[in-house]
Symmetry: C2
Subunit: 469 residues, 2 copies
């Protein structure tokens, strides 16, 4: 009987464990998770903090009991793996009860990523938060609840105004204009906070197209979020608690700061065991997500993936890739060698009343480095037939390789509910299959007046750029 | 100087005329349209009859004046082309002012399709309507307005109940359970009519999957539409006006009937000129939509198209294909030979509070005839993250070729706004590119909690069927 050991009990780890055990019930599957939370939807944390989700438990898709009893997986929470010995094929895990040494035939390293904080003065002030884990989410929700309660005590007769997005709680800062920053701006504003968002670069959501960034920026302004671009935060001022965010140009008083400046892969354990990292700093793997060490796999936010357009190893720590690669590894371990598939860098975000998605390669430098001659065009198109009531606008950016017309990437933004995100599904296939924009323009996409114009905005964008390249 | 003559001024004709003139301003472009309406969105008629669109003019995307003045197209409405002489390269058009003979260098036949009425006794009764043209739409809207006014006179104190979908107008019949039938059931019910829908076969929306049909059928029942399946209408009873719909099993009193039993291509003019038809009864064309006669093209609802899965000629009279093929012909005529692209038979429909889409080959007989071994599976999945407020259900049917896994077709249905239609965009690409379901399951589709579960319903369906084939 063979043993599959998994280090890390979130998306990649639990997907692998479940799939392996389902496909080969004779397999012994042992999962070590250093915390108490497993298989949770970290992507849901902003909505929990916002107050749309009532309990952290709601974010857990499968409970530890279900894994143990229904899926027959030996799940050990509160166990931190501190060493891997690839020669002996063992891992050493530490818990309150001491250390255990566990043999493995197959090993998956799924240690995830950790929120990074940039080197800013005053990071030890109270009132600074990151959002990398369930306990971070819990802390933030507690902060929000406490602030609202205090405000209620001070203004007992103010009525339910805060529920209607009136600003009535103190100013707070968000450092970083990526997904987390934008989603947390929404979550905090919805709770009545005056939100100040600081972005180091010249636009927010920089992995999206410039046109998408502009649309989201404009909308944040409409929602009374103060956005500071080209704003390098130099220090968090205050005696004990944070009192202000200081940049080169501004000093903005705040009562709390959320630092959402990205994540870095957790690779210490892997490195100590001799697992090679790639150029991105995440664990390098082959198409089966196997590392340089035999029968040692890596997946999820600690590992690299292969980009479907450039063929390069990239580090795009997102939930679907973790699930998909974990599942493929589980299938491989159970005896059916399975590739995990590439990534297109697809991402989606809701920001207040708009939605946006991006896929493929939009950055011209990256495209050029991969041998392409990128050309980008942006169009605005109606989201429904022009005569249909309540039509909105979908803004589509397409990036193509000028000589061949190959679709390299796309970025879409629309009012929430007008379909920017789901329409991006058309582009993921095009990007993945190496389709030309002329072929894309000929796609027989679904049409009816409540859903698009006769040419879906994606097709209109394809027509326009095909006519100009 | 060369002359491009277009017969028929709707989607295909006006797309071709506009594109040809834009790409080659020296070209003389002449369009003959026998009616007065051109370039109109017939797909919008149900929403006009429903009352969501106030004027027929709103359905016109470009006016005759714009075509004439801004686009410099010689548009002649009220001109019916009665003959084509391919040897002399002329067409003869008849108007109130007499006949004109017009020479052509390139000719497009875009005569569209006509609503068909099955051979039922009593078709000459008053109160029977079809929905094939703008004037049909006008007639139906007038009927609906009149009925509502009469009801108002009879029950002056009933208040605005009808505006809230209470049934308070007389019973009406809809014959045919395709798109038109379903959309018109919604339009009539929204105006307070008691709707009886008669479908000859054993399910409605028969080009969709059975699972989709069932979901729509159930929803129609929730909306108090009486649906009669396996109901062959034998006669429309009544002295002058229709009074009842008679089937083998039932006699249902009605005050009006909409007959929506499909369309047939208008090919008389083409046939008389020696243009060959295909097996479908529509005009046969090559990849450039050229007929057997040199420089004579055909596109839109009168012409065949090539199916991307089977490679067979099919007759799928829908708006996007008409636009796309018209545009390609315009480009070819202007000097750049351009293929119009195939069709996937993609279609979308809104029915009250649900939406549905289908693409590719779902019919097992058609799949087998094309050499495939079809396997279909249906799954129900959440439309948003399980913990996200207001999540709905997306039902996805996938049909694949069992030995190769190739995706042949798909059908989706969800609550309106939960994304069945836009999610189908992922399947159109897969069907068109000949992607296997294993590859589809590895697509890096956009994910965020407000838009789907980590695996979009399309991916979940792909995983399930891949595991079972």
């Amino acid at each position: 009987m063979s043993t599959f050991v998994v280090v890390g009990g979130d998306a990649a780890g639990m997907s692998a464990a479940s799939k392996a055990k389902r496909d080969d019930p004779d397999l012994d599957v042992v999962v070590f998770e250093k915390g108490e939370w497993i298989s949770y939807g970290a992507c849901g944390l902003p909505y929990y903090i916002k107050g749309e989700i009532q309990s952290l438990q709601d974010l857990v898709s499968v409970t530890p009991e279900q894994f143990r009893e229904e899926r027959d997986i030996d799940l050990r929470t509160g166990h931190e793996v501190v060493a891997i010995d690839p020669d002996d094929r063992t891992v050493t895990a530490r818990s309150d009860a001491g250390e255990v040494v566990q043999e493995y035939d197959h090993l998956l390293i799924a240690t995830g990523a950790a929120a990074v904080t940039p080197p800013i003065d005053g990071l030890d002030r109270q009132g600074l938060y990151t959002l990398g884990s369930m306990s971070d989410g819990k802390d933030l929700r507690e902060y929000v609840s406490r602030a609202r309660e205090e405000e209620d005590l001070q203004q007992p007769d103010r009525g339910p105004a805060c529920q209607f997005l009136e600003t009535c709680n103190g100013p707070v800062g968000v450092v970083g204009g990526g997904y987390i920053g934008v989603e947390m701006a929404e979550a905090l504003a919805a709770n009545g906070f005056e939100v100040h968002l600081f972005q180091r670069g010249d636009r927010i959501l920089k992995s999206f197209s410039e046109a998408t960034s502009e649309a989201v920026l404009e909308h944040l302004g409409e929602q009374d979020v103060a956005v500071y671009l080209n704003a390098e935060v130099t220090s968090f001022e205050g005696t004990d608690a944070v009192e202000a965010v200081k940049t080169d140009d501004d000093r903005v008083p705040v009562e709390m700061v959320l630092v959402g400046t990205g994540v870095r892969p957790r690779t210490d354990l892997a490195e100590d065991a001799g697992v090679e990292l790639g150029e991105t700093g995440a664990v390098a793997t082959d198409a089966y997500r196997e590392t340089n060490l035999p029968d040692v796999y890596a997946a999820g936010d600690c590992a690299e993936a292969t980009h479907v357009v450039t063929g390069e190893a990239v580090h795009v720590p997102l939930a679907l890739t973790a699930n998909r690669h974990g599942r493929a590894i589980g299938q491989t371990v159970a005896g059916e060698r399975t590739e995990g598939g590439g990534v297109a860098g697809t991402a989606a975000v809701k920001a207040f009343d708009i939605e946006a998605a991006r896929t493929g390669v939009l950055d011209h430098d990256i495209a050029q480095a991969a041998g392409f001659d990128p050309l980008a065009r942006t169009i605005d198109a109606k989201s429904r037939a022009g005569y249909y009531p309540e039509s909105g606008t979908v803004r589509v950016t397409l990036t193509v390789d000028r000589p061949t017309g190959r679709v390299l990437g796309g970025s879409l933004v629309s009012e929430y509910g007008e379909g920017a995100v789901h329409r991006s599904h058309a582009l993921v296939g095009a990007v993945t299959e190496g389709v030309s924009v002329a072929e894309l323009a000929n796609y027989d996409l679904a049409y009816a007046p409540p859903f698009n114009t006769t040419w879906d905005p994606v097709l209109t964008a394809a027509k326009v750029i095909e006519g100009q390249r």
